[in-house]
Point group: C4
Chain length 267, copies 4
Amino acid sequence: MNTRRLQARFYKIRSNKVFEFFVVSIIIFSALMIGVKTYQLPDYVNQTMRILDFGITLFFLIEISVRFLGEKKKSQFFKSGWNIFDTLIVVLSLVPIENSELAIVGRLIRVFRVLRMVSMIPELRLLLNSLLKALPQLAYVMLLMFIIFYIYAAIGSSVFAGINEVLWGNISISMLTLFRVMTFEDWTDVMYETMAVYPLSWIYYLTFIFLTTFAFLNMIIGIVVNVLEEERQNLRQETKNAQAKKEVSMEDLQLQIQELKHLLEKR
Amino acid sequence: MNTRRLQARFYKIRSNKVFEFFVVSIIIFSALMIGVKTYQLPDYVNQTMRILDFGITLFFLIEISVRFLGEKKKSQFFKSGWNIFDTLIVVLSLVPIENSELAIVGRLIRVFRVLRMVSMIPELRLLLNSLLKALPQLAYVMLLMFIIFYIYAAIGSSVFAGINEVLWGNISISMLTLFRVMTFEDWTDVMYETMAVYPLSWIYYLTFIFLTTFAFLNMIIGIVVNVLEEERQNLRQETKNAQAKKEVSMEDLQLQIQELKHLLEKR
Amino acid sequence: MNTRRLQARFYKIRSNKVFEFFVVSIIIFSALMIGVKTYQLPDYVNQTMRILDFGITLFFLIEISVRFLGEKKKSQFFKSGWNIFDTLIVVLSLVPIENSELAIVGRLIRVFRVLRMVSMIPELRLLLNSLLKALPQLAYVMLLMFIIFYIYAAIGSSVFAGINEVLWGNISISMLTLFRVMTFEDWTDVMYETMAVYPLSWIYYLTFIFLTTFAFLNMIIGIVVNVLEEERQNLRQETKNAQAKKEVSMEDLQLQIQELKHLLEKR
Amino acid sequence: MNTRRLQARFYKIRSNKVFEFFVVSIIIFSALMIGVKTYQLPDYVNQTMRILDFGITLFFLIEISVRFLGEKKKSQFFKSGWNIFDTLIVVLSLVPIENSELAIVGRLIRVFRVLRMVSMIPELRLLLNSLLKALPQLAYVMLLMFIIFYIYAAIGSSVFAGINEVLWGNISISMLTLFRVMTFEDWTDVMYETMAVYPLSWIYYLTFIFLTTFAFLNMIIGIVVNVLEEERQNLRQETKNAQAKKEVSMEDLQLQIQELKHLLEKR
């Protein structure tokens, strides 16, 4: 009985607008601290920061506990990816890291606290979800693009490895070089170098650029069309329903007229 | 009574097509003068320019006064953002700036006179309004992108600061560097430098490029879909109205047929 | 009478598929010749080329004459922009240019012969027309972009002229520099240079990039939406017509039922 | 009789899911081997690779044979472009190439085996088909763009050849340079060089960039609109069919009412 009352109280805290606003403020403050730490700072500020950081970690720990205790079914809590993510970030922040080698790891974990902002603001969560939902649609275009990259990289590292070991040394480096070519970043320097040995190698670059640009365009168009298609499907369904309703009333009319005819003929 | 007649007269001037055309001409002339001033000019031209500039400032002052006096309700005048902007530009141009330190400020104020063109041509005003109206839709995507930038910049300045102080010195510089990477401007130079120390740092750049490109694409597609969605909503409403009308006439028909039946059955 | 028969004969030639194909072949051949001439060639080839060029000019003259004489109403001929363009190119090719200074002009005129391809192939003509038709829609966005460029260029040449005369010397050079920034071409070099003097000048570049990218995006979206809008208007018109037709038959029905009622009531 | 039973058995193998999965696995393994080969490897690994490669070639030969023998009508087999492609790749892999000069050719053929992935996975085949189907729509835009490139390249190599032989030496090199300008790759370097001689040559570059960007945009928009147009055509057809059906039932109604009238009038 006591537990349930406690749960209800925590649930109330957790749903409180002021509490939520306070949590977001702390997240923003913790994000600012991460930014400030990248500047050269006097020693006493660093000391203060360490204390503040400890305070924030503590606050997040309490907040997560409130959330967890406020949950009606405890097992439900870890079914949400965001809850797992939040817990992980908080727990990992608790690990003390004095060692200088792990200091960077500790810093990075604190950086990911900023992502908690996404988990707190529903609009951002929605946006991220819709972004993630669009990804699988692209899976096959991605695969096709990877195949194009792989083939061109295999050709590139077979033929151009002798010209420039740094750019075409093996298939992974070649793929990175090709990605660079795709972003048009100093791609002519890469091309002119190989054209000095193989004058026709511009064909290699131009076909690659055409293929990837075309596939990329198709991907974008694909997303747009998909979104519109979905929309249209809804519209069509609505129209069909309206149609069906109208047809019913039409049949109704015909039935009634037939009845009329029968009435007239009977007499 | 006298004031009202004056107001009416000024209103007439203000709505006059010739007057409007004249104002736009003066704005264009003032814009040209700003351009000419950036060239090296002989002294006597500079002198003439100063006089012309004074003339333009005076003209704008008169024009704004005419507009203000032509307004029926004076309090209404400053409710339009464009009027406030126009008045501000004119008033600030009046401040005499002989001091060489403030000369640049004076010049910049004159530059913004060109923006008065937007306030004068209705089509441009409409365009700018529609641009500004599209901005809030993007607010959350912008926020998400800022979070992505912030996290990557925090990681970048934590890990790469030792490699290149100029590019990764603190979080602000890192964000600028990341913006550069997003525009593909010599981004491989930035990457190769850090790859020399951390060979796997290409993951950092590639994931960043993928995330921002993907978010950017989604933003564009979002706008397009929003615009179309609005359009479609209108279409749907029209269809619904037409449907409703049709259903009414259908019901009418059925009622009439029922009456017929009653007539027949009665006899 | 004789003239008319001649006109009819020329009209027949002009509409002949074989003749058209032959003209296109000559245009392609002339285009290839222009390309070949840019290579280093032995003297006798150059001589042959000069003769061939003369032959082509002659052929084009005859072709235009046939077209002109085949026209029923001579005054109609010069109402088509393409005919004027074709005639101009042919007539200008006739001017003998031995003078080395004008040789380049002569060459350029020959280059524009390639454009005759567009005037010959209906699909290309259609495409170009649709491209040109889309331009006026963009007029105001272009104007707005020009204003943005002008204001930023005026600011740039006022503030940065002392830093780099080559990039910010006057307003025209500044606009070219800004166009370069818009294409992201080594824009960070430009920025880092001014940031050394004005550390906050990144605001200038970033706002400029945001404004132009946003205006550019809006332009594209504007075109897409315009095209779709037109399409939709057609669809709506069709639907309305169908609706009107249906309403008429509905009214018809009601009238007939009313007649029925009258018939029944009369008896 | 025996042949047919054999064919049926092979057909069964070929349609077997396990078999298909196995083939895809071998293709992926062969792709990985191609990638591994681009690294510096110890001798014994290279030896193993050669044996494995022989095994893969053999496997592909068997697989193609099974496919061929499983086909009901042998003549049908080579009507599919994918089958021809698969057979070609396998047959060419069989040619022994010890000669170091042809070794690269042999490698490249093995690289194209990766493309067999596309022929095996239906989704990728569909995607590639839809990409290829979109190409002819672009044929005329491509032609128009080629004409623009050709004209600008002809002008460029006529006027700028003296300035930089490497960039503007002849029409082919000029076209490559213009493609570079189109991708904004260090295009200002190219421009500044010619502007030193012809200060107005920026017009050449800017008009080129505007034309190609505009044509490119139009191309993209063209594809989007085409896809949507097709969709809409379907929708319209559906609507028309529904309309026609409704009109029929409407006519039916009117006929029945007329019959009623006749019945009433007769009496």
